[in-house]
Symmetry: C2
Subunit: 155 residues, 2 copies
Amino acid sequence: MVKRTSFEGDACPIARSLEAIGDWWSLLIIREALFGVRRFGEFQSKLGMAKNILAVRLRALVDHGILATAPASDGSAYQEYVLTPKGRGTFPILVALRQWSEAFDDHPEEIATILVDREKGRPVRKLELRAEDGRLLSPADTTLKPRPAPRRRSA
Amino acid sequence: MVKRTSFEGDACPIARSLEAIGDWWSLLIIREALFGVRRFGEFQSKLGMAKNILAVRLRALVDHGILATAPASDGSAYQEYVLTPKGRGTFPILVALRQWSEAFDDHPEEIATILVDREKGRPVRKLELRAEDGRLLSPADTTLKPRPAPRRRSA
DNA sequence: GGCACATGGTTTTATGATGCAACCACACAA
DNA sequence: TTGTGTGGTTGCATCATAAAACCATGTGCC
């Protein structure tokens, strides 16, 4: 088997999320969905991707519970693809990717847009990782621990 | 051409970052590197991936300025792969992926590790997006604006 | 120096994924 | 009923990936 190395059973949460959204198109589809895109043709024209893989990706995202198909909305009998809460939960991932580009891209002048807070129109803050008590954490300030066993009733 | 649809010239910063780290293995390699892995064989055995694509990925990450090759460190004349600042800058992306899995995975009990603050050993806070003035922002509270033209000296 | 072995890859070959174009099914309108 | 637009599926060519074999260099030991 040469199957593209599934991470489905992997214990690492990063690998698990990549299993769902780790391919070239899925995150871009989610990005468009966060901007309100819902229709097949709209995804296809905005992303400029082949229709067959768009169909495959949309199905996979629906299977993963990231998108859901809604029967209609504008009257036409076609279906739409809307984000589930799980899908909207990817927002920090997209923001992190965006901020990484903004901070480290070799040609930042080619980046066309900035993410702003809608109310004030001002750029958002950078995402930062903090400890429970509020201290700012760098990668070196963190470590991994085994997950505590889930408490069972009859234990 | 069927070439895998490069996003190199794309104006969207998310697409640009996916161009560099949007494939199956790169983020996992970076994850290992953040844990201190430096040697080819160490990446290969920990990730269980084919050596040829590991070689291709490492080269690509070096080309993108995410890893750098260091001449040695433990005496042996082999080379090592160490993260650059740009590489360490992906940390929030990995944390966001991890937290997304923790929050939405269908089988969270299979996740083996939790990210804790090294000093206290307590779980870290969730990443959150805030406005300049500190307000917590949801996706709907944000919007995109065209990037302001860079100020030139002779303008 | 010479030999075995480990490290760090490259080459070969098979298969899965991607991209494009063509085709098809259905809804809606004239 | 013919036409048009949306929303896909199917075929085929090409690319990327994976596994295993191979190879080059370094390292340890005598």
